[in-house]
Symmetry: C2
Subunit: 380 residues, 2 copies
Amino acid sequence: MIYLDYASATPVRFEVLKEMEKYHMVLFANPSSIHEAGLQVAQALDQAVARVRTILGAGSNDHVLFTSGGTESINLAIQGVVLASTRKRKHIITTSLEHKAVLETCAFLSEKYGVRVTYIAPRANGIVRVRDIVNAITPDTILISVMYANNEIGTIQPLREIGAVARRKGIIFHTDACQAGCYADLDVSRLGVDLMTLNSGKMYGPKGAGLLYVRKGVSLVPLMYGGSQQSGLRPGTENVAGIMGFVKALELAQKERVREVKRLITLRDGFIEKILKAIPDSRLNGDAVCRLANNINLSFRGVEGEALVRYLSQQKIYVSTASACSAHSIEVSHVIKEIGVPTSYARGTIRLTLGKETTRKEMEMVGKKVGEIVNVLRRV
Amino acid sequence: MIYLDYASATPVRFEVLKEMEKYHMVLFANPSSIHEAGLQVAQALDQAVARVRTILGAGSNDHVLFTSGGTESINLAIQGVVLASTRKRKHIITTSLEHKAVLETCAFLSEKYGVRVTYIAPRANGIVRVRDIVNAITPDTILISVMYANNEIGTIQPLREIGAVARRKGIIFHTDACQAGCYADLDVSRLGVDLMTLNSGKMYGPKGAGLLYVRKGVSLVPLMYGGSQQSGLRPGTENVAGIMGFVKALELAQKERVREVKRLITLRDGFIEKILKAIPDSRLNGDAVCRLANNINLSFRGVEGEALVRYLSQQKIYVSTASACSAHSIEVSHVIKEIGVPTSYARGTIRLTLGKETTRKEMEMVGKKVGEIVNVLRRV
């Protein structure tokens, strides 16, 4: 098989699996227990928080909350900030390119609490203008939430510039960095973010683990109530093995990042160049340069993307149309719509996301197959 | 080491670890992906739901929602039912013995939404009277939440009788069955429950996984918003390995239940008898018969439970004072208070919870050590 859907899910890497095994079988006690077995686990968790702080360049009083994944972290960040605010009128700025976890959470807050939400549209290259965000700020704006990199077209947003604006205006800034974890600088000080969501299942850690970085001083209302774990902001016995595996994966990903980004960009750009040359009426969606090292998003005129995915799947080549989270939708993805891909192309969109195991040989094989199948489909 | 804190956390059993490994490394695709690799995982998840329905005696239209653990399931059940109800005045009946996840969620709903909550106190044996619940019902009562078995003193509540009452009155009935998963009948029809919380980390499955059984027709408001996974009631990529491991653990626990319960009751009752005979001014807390097969909760007059736990820990014997979730509290546990343990005994409480690896020899050794240490502490 050739797996090119790493943006949807990654396998757990071996080092992470070994780390988790230890906490499943040996250091399995409850970290809240006061006996030695529990204290040992509590210590490991404390160290895990410290290790994350180091990777993120976070302060020693900043919170690192471990959650069940990206969706929970995003909900905790956005619901948490908005419901903690005592302001009478509340305004959120986000983008029209966000993941559904952001869009649906904003929709919920708007519907249930009358929170006003501005959705900034991107330019045709899939990147938002900082100026548009600045212009949308009102005295009621309490939160800006902009994804680090888009999950479909891989475009990287200008976080530092947005962070600088947010800081100047005293507005809390959250970023959904789920897709960026392996490929971008996660230093929260350099980026100027107050809240950052990361997802283990997209970075060769286990699914069912995520984190929310919370800068000191940012108040959150929890989603759940119970024990006093994680300062009461995220009660419940910690998913110890998941957390320890996730932190290991995060460390390794960031350690290998620069080299891996270089390797993937070569594969990515080689593939794109060949396809655009070989297949007429094809186009790359999203900025060619300012995009994730592992993301390729292409549209072919007069082809059904879903058919292309299924034909490739029959050849054991696994790619996707949009994000997995909306893969079952028959609509053109909101991201593809937002960047104004012409209708004749829009339905013919596929996403290939590369990863650790991806080789040049695989990419050549896939390039050939994509060409063949597009031809077949266009003839039907 | 002798681990007697299985109510706080269990190790992951080997069969479960093997099952999880498969989904971490091989069947790792996103179950929402439409390629073959994703469909295979989606199928495994569908089968997992069906397997849980079989174990629980659930209908084919009943929901099984996989969550991140007991706390999330409980919050989803209680917040979910209360916030979904369009009734103007809302009343919950629960017990004063519940886990903090129930008590704190009720407190939140009371504080934020003015929901009225009645906390039924147990009899001195740690079991609530069904009559007291019946008497507490008002026309505003929308939810009864009673734990299956208590996490500290192990007493088993009369779920069937409460379920019958709830059904007759048309009130939704939730049970927190986190401690009962390995030791009690989980058939939701026989029990008459509409919602049931189970926690993987207490039944030799991985931490960070739990489930909420939801009878068909029960409306819930989700805690989080995002993708359409799990009918939108619990969005986010499923923790596939965690779920598959949990379901395996649940199946094995229920298969081995009758034999294991018998084995543990013999160990439990032998230990209790010896201790009560050997140590003057000692008492068993909670009903001697109607309690979990693995639970021993004892109080010793004029002794500090925490000191006892620490001394035992130095001998590599791991027990607890109360539940792990409130282990760091210096107060006497609310459960011990509620059943009226005399003050001179209350602070000298320890909980020993047995498990799969517990042997007669271990229990004999622990019995001896407890006797010695109680003597030492009483002399100080």
